[in-house]
């Protein structure tokens, strides 16, 4: 079996900065993995996801996603990888409908000079149905609650039939009920579609029951990579959060 994501000694440096935010990160992520990335603020968790997705360029090392190099095949990879951005909200006046936002998930896959066809709309509707947002199909995106917006963004990712899902704090700014709802949907997606998932979380209570690995980041370095029970009881974990309570 080959890893679906492979980072080999990767450094990521933000443009205009001297010091690397990610330093020498080496990781292998296997098909079907459900990984939680933990770490104090500023550890490089979002940077890790954006580096894997090719939104941030790596300055050193090599990144292979679905066996393709992110440097040369970035747009292709992004059309096969779902990425949920951190705390993404829409202004109330945003002039887009829910259906527009969901179908846009497929735009990269559709390619240049082509319009979404019946297959694309069917995939978008199925994703909306799966996430229980089909009844919001013609609603303005800016009029939805936080939980509904997150579900639409998940539907947007699913519409492209991704092989990997990267999620950056999918529960931030949600109330208890919405967290429960989104959490059960994420578990359902993993169970039914057997996708590889990497999610950044802040609350230990948000670790999904099926999570098989926790990657611990601090100061841009991987401090540890182990199954949840082992990681949460490790000294590495306690040390990483010694100045910070989760």
């Amino acid at each position: 079996m080959r890893p679906v994501i492979e980072l080999q000694n990767v450094d990521t440096v933000y443009e205009g900065e001297k010091n690397a935010t990610l330093k020498g990160v080496t990781l292998k992520i296997w098909p079907g993995d459900l990984i939680c990335v933990l770490g104090p603020n500023g550890a490089g968790k979002t940077t890790l996801l954006e580096t894997i997705n090719g939104i941030l360029p790596c300055k050193r090392g090599r990144i292979l996603v679905l066996e393709k190099d992110i440097c040369s095949k970035g747009p292709w990879i992004r059309s096969h990888v779902g990425y949920m951005l951190q705390e993404y909200t829409f202004l109330e006046s945003t002039p887009y409908l829910v259906k527009d936002v969901i179908i846009m998930g497929r735009f990269g896959k559709i390619g240049l000079l082509r319009r979404p066809n019946d297959i694309d709309w069917t995939a978008a509707k199925r994703a909306a149905e799966y996430m229980d947002v089909l009844h919001l199909w013609n609603r303005p995106i800016g009029k939805l609650s936080g939980g509904q917006t997150q579900k639409v963004l998940l539907a947007r990712m699913l519409a492209k039939n991704p092989k990997i899902l990267l999620m950056d704090e999918p529960y931030s700014n949600l109330d208890y009920k919405a967290v429960e709802d989104i959490s059960s949907k994420i578990c359902q997606i993993h169970r039914n579609r057997n996708l590889t998932m990497v999610m950044v979380i802040h609350e230990l209570s948000h670790i999904p029951p099926k999570c098989n690995r926790i990657i611990l980041l601090k100061d841009g370095k991987v401090l540890g990579d182990a199954p949840p029970n082992k990681m949460l009881n490790s000294n590495q974990f306690k040390r990483a959060f010694s100045e910070y309570s989760v």
């Binding site: 951005l85 846009m104 735009f107």
Partner: protein
């Protein structure tokens, strides 16, 4: 009411209508992407180019086109490199192009300050020629074709550039294309509408259309209609009351915007 020959009146209506369509279509991008200083900056770049043309006895329109295109071309990469909002770069560019425009204007020999030459700097839709109409017609078709061909990419970028990247679109060429289209539109429209008022024709019709719909497709369709309405009513107002043409068009676009805000269904609660 002023009496003018029918062919001039027709040319005026046609020219102003085409200018309104292209300016307002580009305005959809400008308003949605918070680049409202774009029209302002581009019109001053074109103004500086035209003034340079007059100062060195070269075709002012060509140099206006060249200058605003140059600003459009360097704007994107500079904003990205400097990690600054495009609006900040636009502000800086605006002051630079304004200063250059005034500098070149002071270099124009007295004999060149004819009304024909000044019309390029200050806009005169009454002086529109068949060649101007041809240029505007080509630009209108070009703009509609480009927007039609890359509709979904532009739609995604206008929602959010990062989300568009996430879906697998290489956004950079499209973002630069938007800036380039703005530059070309300003340059070609410069002869018709007072340079400094072009940005109003870019921003006001699009802002009016945004008041009426949550759907981008409707907004893209409504915006040129608002632009057209501003132009035609502005021309009629100008002929009726002997007002400067550019000012009348812009005043009507503001009136339409205010009416849109008052009548906006998006603002009604319930």
């Amino acid at each position: 009411m002023i009496q003018i020959p029918a062919h001039i009146f027709l040319n005026t209506i046609l020219g102003a209508s085409l200018a309104a369509i292209v300016c307002s279509l580009v305005g959809v991008f400008i308003v949605r992407m918070n680049l409202s200083s774009m029209g302002f900056c581009m019109s001053h770049a074109a103004f500086a180019g035209a003034a340079l043309g007059l100062a060195i006895s070269r075709d002012p329109l060509l140099l206006a086109l060249g200058m605003s295109t140059l600003v459009a071309i360097i704007l994107g990469p500079v904003a990205e490199r400097a990690k600054l909002q495009a609006d900040i770069i636009l502000g800086t560019m605006f002051s630079l192009t304004m200063a250059l425009g005034l500098l070149f204007l002071s270099m124009i020999p007295g004999s060149a300050m004819s009304s024909d030459a000044l019309s390029i700097l200050w806009g005169s839709v009454l002086g529109i020629t068949n060649a101007d109409l041809m240029r505007l017609g080509i630009l209108t078709i070009f703009l509609i074709v480009v927007i039609g061909l890359f509709y979904k990419e532009f739609l995604a970028i206008m929602l959010d550039r990062k989300l568009a990247e996430e879906s697998g679109i290489n956004t950079r060429p499209f973002y630069y294309a938007i800036l380039f289209l703005c530059g070309v539109t300003v340059s070609v429209s410069l002869k018709l509408i007072v340079g400094r008022l072009i940005f109003a024709l870019m921003v006001n019709p699009a802002s009016s259309a945004y008041q009426f719909s949550h759907n981008m497709k409707s907004i893209i369709f409504l915006t040129p209609l608002f632009g057209l309405a501003s132009s035609v009513t502005g021309i009629l107002l100008s002929f009726q009351w002997d007002m400067p043409l550019g000012s009348s068009i812009v005043i009507m676009s503001v009136v339409l915007f205010l009416a849109s805000v008052l009548l906006s269904p998006k603002r009604k609660r319930g």
